[in-house]
């Protein structure tokens, strides 16, 4: 079934650890996005990609990095997690042409102790 998957759903980790949040979609979409959302706040775009080997930083500065080696896979990495990175991370994808209809994953709730 065509969908967008994020793992893990929840992650609790200590300061200084390297983490990778996984995002995969089987919808054949070229565009993929990472949003960060704190409780009660808006979604902030932190990274996006329009295709393989294409990655751009979003509006909100983030210490995370992303890669897009395969169309369906868009992982986000934090080399050294800090408590300030505690947040919800949402992955989304959209078809080429228009950004309007985003398909979101279930999100990863990251807590850094």
């Amino acid at each position: 079934e065509a969908d967008i998957y994020q793992t893990p759903r929840y992650l609790v980790i200590g300061t200084g650890k390297k983490i990778t949040l996984e995002c995969s979609q089987t919808m054949g979409h070229d565009k993929m996005y990472w949003y960060q959302q704190d409780p009660g706040m808006e979604l902030h775009l932190i990274h996006y990609s329009y295709g393989v080997n294409s990655t751009e930083k979003g509006d909100l500065s983030s210490e995370s990095t992303v890669s897009r080696i395969r169309t369906e896979h868009f992982p986000l990495t934090l080399e050294s997690a800090r408590p300030s990175h505690t947040s919800q991370y949402l992955c989304a994808s959209s078809d080429t042409g228009r950004v309007e209809k985003l398909f979101f994953g279930s999100g990863t709730q990251l807590s850094v102790l």
């Binding site: 979604l43 996006y48 950004v99």
Partner: protein, 111 residues
């Protein structure tokens, strides 16, 4: 710069009452506006878009360029409408098209 403002963080109405979720935007170009919704334990999903002029689940939204608003309305709220609602704007920045979200309004429809 693109900006979306949802002035109400929380909105509570009774079942059967009309509901209006406010959204104002700031954008120098020709905007495209959307409403996204997140029901409890579900993913964020597109509810409706202004260019479609559609009614989804009884909700409508009209783009008012003069007032730079895109309020979401429903004449008779139902309990299943309880959710987080996000207004979003699509515009071009630096040669790329992006979707900017408001902070969201949590709607509670009481029985």
């Amino acid at each position: 710069a693109q900006r979306v403002t949802q002035p109400e963080k929380l909105l509570s109405v009774f079942k059967g009452a009309p509901v209006e979720l406010k959204c104002n935007y700031s954008y120098s170009g020709s905007p495209e506006l959307f409403w996204y919704v997140q029901y409890s334990r579900q993913r964020l999903q597109l509810l409706l878009r202004h260019i479609s002029r559609e009614s989804i689940k009884g909700f409508t939204a009209d783009l008012n360029k003069g007032e730079t608003s895109f309020h979401l309305k429903k004449p008779f709220a139902q309990e299943e409408d309880s959710a987080m609602y996000y207004c979003a704007l699509s515009g071009h920045q630096g040669g790329s098209e992006k979707l900017v979200f408001g902070k969201g309004t949590k709607l509670t429809v009481n029985p």
